[in-house]
Symmetry: C2
Subunit: 143 residues, 2 copies
């Protein structure tokens, strides 16, 4: 249901091409990102990184996330509730269903909804630059 056969992106190569240095902290953070398939926030990444190398600072996590975001390697999501959450930018576009009890994120995509969005914007005289569709829900109890 969620094992994405995503050809794990070679962040290091991308970074090198972007002309930035492959430092120890960055290596650790990149490793965490490639090994992760949830949507961690900066603090979670920081904690996972600290477990590997306690000298890594939260600032560096933020700086690295910003860097990767600008390179287009990751996406930043401002779901409800404080912290921004990140995900690898490998796959195609999708929207999110957030479990309001656990914070779990499920990705989904609806071509039909996207079409309808386009129609609506168009009817209002607009071109969509980007959009945000988030469903906040609770796991159904009885089937």
């Amino acid at each position: 249901m969620n094992q994405h056969a995503s050809h794990k992106p070679d962040y290091e190569k991308e970074l090198r091409r972007a002309g930035v240095r492959i430092t120890r902290p960055r290596k650790v953070i990149l490793r965490i990102l490639t090994e992760t398939d949830d949507h961690p926030d900066a603090m979670e990444i920081f904690q996972r990184a600290s477990a590997i190398d306690p000298s890594i600072s939260l600032s560096t996590v933020y700086r690295t996330m910003k860097l990767l975001e600008e390179m287009g390697a990751i996406h930043r999501h401002a779901f409800e509730g404080g912290r921004a959450r990140f995900e690898q930018a490998d796959g195609e576009h999708h929207d999110h269903l957030i479990d309001i009890d656990t914070g779990d994120v499920i990705e989904f995509h609806s071509k039909r909804i996207e079409e309808l969005q386009e129609e609506i914007a168009s009817a209002l005289g607009y071109d969509i630059v980007h959009h945000r569709l988030e469903l906040y829900g609770r796991k159904r109890k009885r089937s």
Copy 2:
């Protein structure tokens, strides 16, 4: 398509019923809200209020917005870009198209999209508690 003939809500009556005092600052803020048909943020409300009564504080604006939100009289939206924006909660549910150049907000509603959202959540085993659909766009140039 979107001209809401909103029967302007009597906030004062609602507040009184909720057992809170009708103070001078609150009167001013309520007046601003009823006279407004855009989606102002706290700072804008504060500035408009200051023009009427310079002694009103930003804290009071925030406190009043929170109060009204808890009463269900207004909705708070966390669109992109810092500040939360508010709108009267009179009409029926709608989503938003935000003009990324001007910040203008256009309300729209699509029964079809809502149905599709339900289908998706349902297929994933979830009940939707609430959702967020925001289109960020730019006014189309050539018709």
